[in-house]
């Protein structure tokens, strides 16, 4: 696995996420988020899982940003007002505390792995995790119906 590829992808992912979280222009934030998810798909390729990468690209890097931009258009919100200073303080402290927990993992032993192709992942998806797969489809159906019902215009 290429060290350079990982470094470039990780840098782009983190830069995109930072822009998405810090930018005051919400359209810029949404586009940066799309790029972030696109580079996360690249990370899945590095992990030897093209299936995950394709789904990440189709759902998170294409469908969700379009939905987000559509909602931004509908609600006409262009700018995000900055939050009060105390929120930045609390968020910074929480983020640092969370990162402190990271030290436990940095000494993970080095090992190589044999990636599993899309066909192997698909067979496991429909045998080992058949029940969660069906539950997930029902969940998507429920979410679709729920979103339609919730977003419907009420008759006056």
């Amino acid at each position: 696995m290429s060290v350079l590829g990982f470094a470039v992808l990780a840098g782009l992912v983190l830069a995109g996420a930072l822009v998405a979280v810090l930018s005051e222009n919400i359209v810029h934030a949404a586009v940066a988020l799309a790029f972030t998810f696109f580079f996360v798909a690249g990370l899945y390729v590095l992990l030897g899982s093209p299936l995950l990468a394709v789904i990440q690209f189709a759902v998170n890097a294409a469908a969700i940003p379009i939905l987000t931009l559509f909602i931004i258009m509908t609600t006409q919100s262009r700018r995000v007002r900055p939050a009060a200073g105390v929120f930045y303080l609390v968020a910074g402290v929480l983020a640092v505390v969370f990162l402190a927990g990271l030290w436990a993992y940095l000494g993970a032993p080095q090992e190589a792995f044999q990636p599993l192709g899309p066909e192997g992942l698909g067979v496991r998806l429909l045998t080992v995790t058949l029940l969660p797969f069906e539950v997930a489809s029902v969940l998507l159906l429920l979410a679709m119906v729920g979103a339609v019902v919730l977003a419907r215009r009420r008759e006056a």
């Binding site: 998405a20 997930a136 429920l142």
Partner: protein, 102 residues
């Protein structure tokens, strides 16, 4: 040589960035976008752990798949609720939602 630690570190930093966004953002759309970052950080951790530690079943990569499903469902419902809030109050800021009464 990229190790599991690298992927977990990236996932943790991404999660911290998303957490920062969830707390500091004042627009509901931006908060939902930060939640998406959190979910993706978790999915990266699952997929990487599966690749390095579970070389037979790769259960974590299937779990990452289910995280994407849940993220899509969460986002569609979240945006539907946001549209209702916007129609009700004319704004998508977090501080206009002060009461639960419709």
């Amino acid at each position: 040589m990229i190790t599991l630690g690298h992927f977990l570190a990236l996932s943790a930093v991404l999660f911290a960035i998303g957490l920062f966004g969830v707390i500091t953002r004042r627009n509901l759309i931006a908060v939902l976008m930060s939640v998406e970052i959190l979910l993706n950080a978790a999915a990266i951790a699952f997929a990487a752990t599966a690749a390095y530690k579970d070389p037979v079943f790769f259960s974590g990569q299937l779990f990452a798949l289910f995280i994407m499903v849940v993220a899509a469902a969460e986002l569609s419902i979240g945006f539907a609720i946001l549209l209702n809030v916007f129609r009700h109050t004319g704004s998508a800021a977090t501080d206009v939602v002060e009461e639960m009464r419709g």
